[in-house]
């Protein structure tokens, strides 16, 4: 037994659990959302949170930022927001000798954890500035490139109700998000807890349980988890099943899907499955881990056709059918 690896795995699980437990002191329910956000963080991805107003999207991100010792910034996207408001801009500074020069003023994106609130309200030009930073982990401005400090993690939120006056993210941009997580309305018990925690004199506070260096180590640990070929093939089959033109496409895919998932979807499946395996104290990725992360990893990467919209068939339904249909490898 490799004690170093075992130790790494044990530390990973303990830290993961501690973060989740600390967040749960503020955020009621949504354990799977918290796990999903953590998975994205540890898999070097970004999260798109979708939910009606008031379900705790912003609160969740703020709480996470408090629990994790990360620089946090919030960007409220509005229609008049400019790209420079996100990435920063050059300003003119005069030194002591009176010489003037340009100095790049970092924008709010230069943080470890960025909350892009209501990203669909900004113009596509502004959206692309953020998305480029998400993809490149760097910002280009005035001919120079500024690297973003790791871990760099973006949580974008989207209000599915108010679509008027918004700029829905194009599918190509949606593909850059690792997971798309949906926050549901809390049930009765959860509402009781929410009221108890938020309407009293003192709201509970969280403490920092994870440092920046520890998060980076956890990221490395997650990436080191091996994946056997049969499991990888299983993830690929699921991805191909979302393509209507593929011979391995599911019949619902051929009926309701216009475009299937990109290869980023397969990457998200494997990376998410690795974190999921670690969370369950396993050093290998299983098909069960792949299935656990399929919906958040692929639901935003499938473009549905009009027939699906008319028939009110959503991506989750199609993905669930695919999971039931694709068999696990027998050898």
């Amino acid at each position: 037994m490799n004690t170093v690896v075992d130790r790494q795995i044990q530390v990973f699980r303990e830290q993961f659990v501690s973060v989740r437990e600390e967040i749960s002191r503020i955020i009621v329910g949504n354990d799977d959302i918290v796990s999903g956000v953590m998975t994205c963080l540890l898999a070097r991805g970004h999260v798109l949170l979708e939910g009606i107003p008031g379900v705790g999207k912003t609160k969740l991100v703020q709480t996470m930022a408090d629990v994790l010792d990360l620089k946090f910034s919030r960007i409220q996207f509005t229609p008049d927001l400019m790209p420079g408001d996100i990435i920063g801009t050059n300003i003119v500074r005069e030194d002591e000798s009176g010489r003037k020069n340009f100095e790049f003023q970092h924008g709010p994106i230069f943080a470890n954890m960025v909350l892009a609130d209501e990203i669909n309200r900004a113009t596509p030009k502004t959206q692309s500035a953020l998305l480029e930073a998400m993809q490149e982990n760097s910002v280009s401005a005035a001919g120079s490139t500024h690297a973003l400090e790791q871990p760099f993690f973006v949580l974008a939120t989207q209000n599915p109700i108010e679509m008027e006056g918004t700029y829905p993210l194009p599918e190509a941009q949606m593909d850059r998000f690792f997971f798309k997580l949906r926050l549901d309305f809390p049930d009765v018990e959860q509402l009781h807890l929410i009221i108890d925690r938020t309407t009293r004199e003192k709201e509970p506070a969280v403490k920092r349980v994870l440092q920046q260096g520890q998060i980076l180590e956890m990221r490395d640990t997650a990436r080191a988890i091996p994946v056997a070929r049969p499991v990888q093939e299983y993830a690929i089959k699921i991805t191909l099943a979302t393509h209507p033109e593929s011979v391995q496409g599911h019949e619902m895919t051929k009926k309701y899907v216009r475009f299937g998932s990109s290869p980023r979807g397969s990457q998200a499946l494997i990376l998410g499955a690795k974190v999921h395996a670690l969370m369950n104290d396993r050093v290998h990725v299983s098909c069960e881990d792949v299935r656990a992360v399929t919906l958040p990893a692929l639901r935003h990467r499938i473009l549905l056709n009009f027939e699906a919209e008319a028939g009110r068939v959503d991506a989750d339904t199609i993905l669930q059918r695919i999971l039931d249909w694709v068999p696990e490898p027998k050898e």
């Binding site: 290998h284 696990e328 050898e331």
Partner: protein, 522 residues
């Protein structure tokens, strides 16, 4: 032992058990298929129509080829071993290991190494070491075993039942009538004069009695018995006709009037007793008139020819003279005795033939032989009506009918068993009376009398009423039935014509269109 060796060893053991289980499953599956086709073959053979070969090269060549191909396919399936990846997948699934062994085997077989891979393999080895292949792959009997057992039971059942179902079942294999039954029949012939036909009848009974007799021999024996019965019936009928004519002649002689009545009544015994009295009276009279010769003393002492001719000769001897000579009486009594014996022979022969046929037909309900093998064929039914003169008919059933009507006695014995319409076990006797039923005119028509007006009746109209014929109730009911039956066809014919609607449906169609237009207006 290295982790990889542990894992491979455990997977090998699991693979072997899986292979054994699959081999058993395939073997019993093959047995199921084989039993299925055997059952189908058995059932097909039971209901197989004639003309389709059940044996021989045309059947066994393709069957043998199919069996060989199927066995080869099964052998190929059984020979395929369970690979280690398959064993790993099965072990993961059965023990809920979440692809641990599968992943470990892949890393081991591809010689990939990293600290995490090594850790994973070590953990998998520890897990494999705790696995018991007997628990992972328990030695349960395959499901196909139960199916094979059920099919085996079904096959045994069909094998036992199929011969009895088959209309082509060898009749010689059927149990022969009991020996006692056959002996009873032969006993009936023992005290009869052994002429050629009785000998032949006895031989036929012996053939039927033999257990090693083939179906063909039995069939011929039954045919012989039928021929003998027909011949006997004919001779008996001729004898009856002769007796009837003799009785008419004897009626002219007052001394023989009672004898004639007895003969006409069919009571030969009484007739013989009366003739004995007449002979005694004649002898006494001869003594009183000693030496007087009867004019017909030169009558032949013994009649020649068959029974009918002898009866006719006796009639000639008795006609034209009130006095009856002793030789004539003797000849007459001999002839009557012969006639009685002839009719007794007819009874016995018919009884023997009928009982033998009943025995064979009862057991041949399951035989392969068609019904006409025993001498009766529905399609060959002749006129069942008995002859008004001889009382004979062409059908066996008619002879039964004839026998019952001509030899009616007060005490019924075995010869009279069964109904007048024939034996319950046979098909032809019952058709004698119910086959071609001809109705008398008065049954078809009902005579109605109407009052004539202003006319005086003729000879057949003595009471002033006229006779007309109207349809009987039966005819009227059949006409009504025909009318009802034809009505449907009439409606169909009228409905088929596009420009016409059946009368009964016109109102419905009219209402429909009226309502349709009403709804359009709204």
């Amino acid at each position: 032992m290295k982790d990889s060796e542990i894992i491979l060893g455990v997977l090998g053991g699991i693979g072997r058990r899986l292979w054994v289980g699959r081999a058993l499953q395939e073997a019993f599956f093959g047995l199921c298929v084989l039993l299925f086709f055997l059952i189908a073959f058995r059932l097909a053979g039971a209901v197989q129509p004639s003309g389709i070969p059940a044996t021989g090269i045309p059947v066994w060549l393709p069957v043998g080829a199919a069996i060989t191909a199927f066995v080869a396919y099964l052998a190929w399936r059984v020979s395929r071993r369970v690979t280690l990846p398959q064993a790993a997948a099965q072990a993961d699934a059965r023990a809920a290991l979440r692809d641990e062994l599968k992943s470990a085997y892949w890393f081991v077989s591809n010689s990939e190494h990293s600290p995490f891979i090594d850790t994973q393999v070590a953990r998998a080895a520890a897990t494999a070491g705790r696995l018991d292949p007997r628990i992972v792959v328990p030695g349960r009997p395959p499901r196909s075993l139960w199916a094979a057992a059920a099919l085996g039971v079904m096959f045994a059942f069909v094998t036992w039942l199929a011969p009895q179902m088959s209309p082509y079942w060898d009749a010689s294999a059927a149990p022969a009538p009991s020996q006692a039954q056959q002996q009873d029949l032969r006993a009936l012939l023992q005290d009869m004069p052994r002429d050629a036909r009785i000998e032949k009848l006895d031989q036929a009974l012996e053939t039927l009695q033999r257990s090693d007799a083939t179906a063909e021999q039995k069939r011929r024996a039954m045919e012989d018995m039928r021929d003998i019965a027909e011949q006997t019936n004919m001779e008996a009928a001729a004898a009856r006709e002769g007796l009837a004519r003799l009785a008419e002649v004897m009626k002219a002689n007052p001394k023989l009037e009672k004898v004639a009545e007895a003969i006409q009544a069919g009571n030969n015994k009484e007739a013989m007793e009366l003739l004995e009295e007449v002979r005694r009276d004649a002898a006494a009279q001869q003594d009183n008139t000693s030496g007087e010769q009867f004019p017909d003393a030169a009558v032949a002492t013994q009649h020649q020819g068959n029974l009918a001719e002898q009866l006719d000769q006796s009639g000639r001897d008795l006609s034209g003279t009130p006095n009856i000579s002793a030789p004539a009486l003797d000849n007459l009594m001999k002839t009557l005795d012969q006639a009685a014996r002839e009719m007794d022979a007819q009874n016995r022969v018919n009884q023997v033939q009928r009982r033998a046929r009943e025995n064979m037909v009862a057991t041949a309900q399951r035989s392969a032989a068609p019904h006409n093998e025993f001498g009766s064929n529905r399609q060959d039914v002749a006129n069942p009506e008995p002859s008004p003169d001889s009382g004979n008919a062409d059908m066996q059933g008619a002879s039964t009918f004839r026998r019952d009507s001509a030899n009616r006695e007060e005490d019924a014995d075995g010869a009279r068993e069964g109904s007048r319409t024939g034996s319950a076990s046979g098909e032809s006797p019952s058709m004698a009376l119910t086959g071609k039923a001809t109705q008398r005119l008065e049954a078809q028509l009902k005579l109605e009398a109407i009052q004539r007006r202003d006319e005086k009746g003729g000879d057949d109209d003595k009471d002033g009423k006229g006779w007309i014929y109207t349809g009987s109730q039966q005819q009227a009911s059949s006409l009504d039935f025909e009318d009802v039956r034809a009505r449907g066809g009439f409606d169909r014919e009228t409905a088929a014509q596009h420009d016409r609607i059946p009368v009964r449906q016109r109102q419905v169609v009219k209402n429909y269109f009226l309502n349709l237009h009403e709804s359009e207006k709204k």
